[in-house]
């Protein structure tokens, strides 16, 4: 389908969605943090919605990511918030506890739920309710420079074996955000570690987690990966050829400078355990404010933004790893190897925990990783994480 055809289809679906909602006088306001192609696509979708629904105008408001959560928590309880907003699923726990978000399972029946990849929908369920509809998923995968790497490693042993050659060329084999839990998570879960036990209690200081941290330390000590790297430096190292491979997500596509030959594949298996390295999965979703003025209309928009034609448009133009399954039947989307890889990776991911406690874990875990990478004892450092999460900084 051409882009014009897609927009037409989107408009047609948008029009049919209206069939069940009566005439309204107030529109739907949606807050998002998108920029670049994602923003342009969202605006296109909004425009075609508005064409079909002059009486339910969809207004988009871009809010900087850094201010988004604060703005939301200030605005919604005071009745100034949006009707809908787009955000990753990992804050759902806190927002549900504070009654900022509206559960939506009321409007969702099996045919709607079937539209989405299960991996993308399940993270949006929290405490027996569904809190949004998934737009796209984000997770890490293995990017590699095709001018430096011919066959990407399938196991961590293969990965480590590539280091001496890379070193000889004055570069690192792999760059990843080694000091951040988000970057470290693939090893953590690949070694069988966890953050929360099945009953939801904190379970950080385990032998498996210590082994994973030990592995991360070995990567740095053996010169496989550079020390003290954050996400931003990963992009620079990879772009300038100082790292042959990088762990990063879909956003990385825009970060790679033009002219760099690259490809992406799924993460390797952890040789010590035989398990796949499993990165965090975040589901980016449209969520409804508990104070949405017209909830029926708001849900119609949610459904519209996540339906098949919209998803195809988002996958093609913004290269989102869309959660809608039917979108991948579109020949253009199906031909996109990058999206296909990220979709394959989905089967080996761990949804980022949505419980409010998780937010208190990031920072102590980061401190612990830094300590471990500098040679600290993994067991002690991880016990320190538990201590800080429970007792506070």
């Amino acid at each position: 389908m051409t882009r014009a055809g897609l927009l037409l289809a989107a408009t047609a679906v948008a029009a049919s969605a209206a069939a069940c909602s009566p005439e309204r006088d107030h529109g739907v306001v949606l807050w998002h943090t998108y920029n670049g192609a994602e923003r342009d696509t969202l605006e296109e979708l909004a425009a075609s919605w508005n064409q079909a629904h002059p009486d339910q105008e969809l207004t988009l408001v871009a809010v900087p990511y850094d201010a988004f959560a604060d703005k939301l928590t200030s605005a919604i309880p005071n009745g100034n918030g949006p009707d809908l907003f787009i955000y990753a699923h990992d804050r759902i726990g806190a927002w549900a506890a504070a009654s900022l978000v509206e559960p939506v399972e009321f409007w969702v029946d099996e045919p709607i739920a079937d539209r989405y990849d299960r991996n993308a929908l399940l993270p949006l369920a929290y405490q027996d309710s569904l809190w949004g509809l998934p737009l796209a998923t984000k997770s890490l995968a293995l990017f590699y420079r095709t001018d430096q790497v011919t066959t990407p490693p399938r196991t961590t042993d293969e990965l480590i074996a590539m280091a001496p050659d890379a070193r000889a060329h004055g570069r690192f084999a792999l760059a990843y955000a080694s000091t951040e839990l988000y970057g470290h998570a693939p090893w953590l879960y690949g070694y069988g570690g966890e953050i929360f036990a099945d009953d939801g209690s904190l379970h950080v200081a385990t032998a498996e987690a210590a082994a994973a941290a030990g592995f991360a330390r070995k990567l740095v000590a053996d010169g496989v990966s550079p020390a003290e790297t954050n996400g931003q430096q990963v992009a620079t190292l990879f772009g300038e050829g100082k790292a042959s491979m990088a762990l990063s997500g879909p956003w990385f596509i825009g970060d790679i400078p033009a002219g760099v030959p690259w490809a992406v594949t799924t993460l390797p298996t952890v040789s010590a355990t035989g398990r796949a390295a499993e990165p965090f999965l975040t589901a980016e979703a449209v969520l409804m404010s508990s104070r949405a003025r017209d909830k029926e209309a708001a849900f119609a928009v949610m459904s519209y933004l996540t339906d098949d034609p919209s998803a195809v448009l988002r996958a093609r133009q913004a290269r989102q790893v869309v959660a809608n399954k039917a979108a991948y039947d579109d020949p253009d989307v199906a031909a996109d190897q990058v999206l296909a890889t990220f979709r394959d990776q989905l089967d080996h991911t761990v949804p980022m925990p949505a419980t409010p406690t998780m937010r208190a874990v990031w920072r102590p875990y980061q401190i612990a990783l830094q300590e471990i990478l500098r040679g600290g004892d993994p067991g002690d450092a991880l016990r320190g994480v538990e201590d800080e999460v429970i007792h506070g900084p």
Binding site: N35, D70, Q232, A235, F252, P257
Partner: protein
């Protein structure tokens, strides 16, 4: 040391120039890295420490200027105008409020004066990030959310403590003879304030004006929290929008940072004539 009519030894001159050049170089290096990023293609910072871009492009500036909202409006222009309006209004309101208060605190003796002075200082010691939510509720109750007035009032009051204290310092340093003379001539307190005190305190006013302007010009958290329509954002909000959760468009940010700092430099250029060299020794002696 400064009023000599003769030049000091060549050693002193050379040392002064050397010191200034070294400091300026250190100051400029990070700025040049920002410039480099603004003109170099790509979103990420380069590894190389050289401040010279390898390749020059205006893409980031084009993207910045060309950013448009959902109705096709040019966001950059809108936001720049909002910023200018908010910052200039903040400067005017902030300077007026602080000048009057500082004058009274400097020249009149009234009960509560010292307590007032301390209060001006004390209330801003509470970390600002903790006050965001109460302030939001307050502005909401006063219907000042999503309005330029609300933002200007918040910024102006943020700037007041420093401005009041600084201006009070300047007023304290001014001789009282001129006022006494004017009073004997029958001038009222407001007239004395406007015609005598304000012109004399020009360097102080220049400092506080610059400060008030900066308070409003580079602020981003409150501007993005209190404004609920995208067309009412200010420039820093537009810049911050290029920073996402996982990745940021640093090229765009750098270009925006350069553009944002130009008006500040221009204002400083205008103000520096008041800031330095505005007074002669005689006029102060009175």
């Amino acid at each position: 040391m400064t009023a000599r009519r003769t030049r000091p030894s060549w050693l002193g001159v050379a040392a002064t120039y050397a010191a200034l050049l070294v400091v300026t170089a250190v100051v400029l290096y990070p700025v040049m890295l920002v410039c480099k990023k603004a003109f170099e293609p790509g979103r990420q910072f380069a590894l190389s420490a050289s401040p010279i871009p390898r390749e020059v492009t205006l893409d980031h500036f084009r993207a910045l200027m060309g950013a448009h909202g959902s109705h096709g409006e040019l966001l950059f222009l809108r936001h720049a105008m909002n910023s200018a309006l908010v910052a200039l209004a903040t400067t005017v309101v902030g300077v007026i409020l602080s000048c009057t208060a500082a004058y009274a605190l400097s020249r009149f003796r009234f009960p509560g004066r010292r307590a007032g002075l301390t209060t001006f200082l004390v209330v801003q010691m509470f970390p600002a990030s903790m006050l965001l939510l109460p302030l939001y509720v307050l502005l909401d109750k006063m219907s000042l959310l999503n309005s330029v007035t609300g933002l200007v009032m918040v910024y102006a009051t943020t700037a007041i403590p420093f401005c009041v204290w600084t201006l009070k310092g300047y007023f304290d340093g001014l001789p009282r003879e001129l006022e006494e003379a004017a009073r004997i001539d029958g001038a009222g307190p407001w007239r004395i304030f406007f015609t005598i005190m304000l012109p004399l305190a020009r360097p102080g006013i220049a400092v506080t004006a610059l400060f008030s302007f900066m308070t409003a010009w580079n602020e981003f958290i409150m501007a993005s929290t209190f404004m609920t329509e995208e067309t009412r954002y200010t420039l820093p909000v537009l810049l911050q929008s290029s920073v996402g959760q996982y990745s940021a468009d640093w090229g765009l940010f750098a270009a925006g940072a350069i553009v944002t700092s130009v008006p500040v430099m221009a204002l400083f250029y205008v103000l520096q004539r008041s800031l330095v060299g505005g007074l002669t020794a005689g006029s102060v002696k009175g």
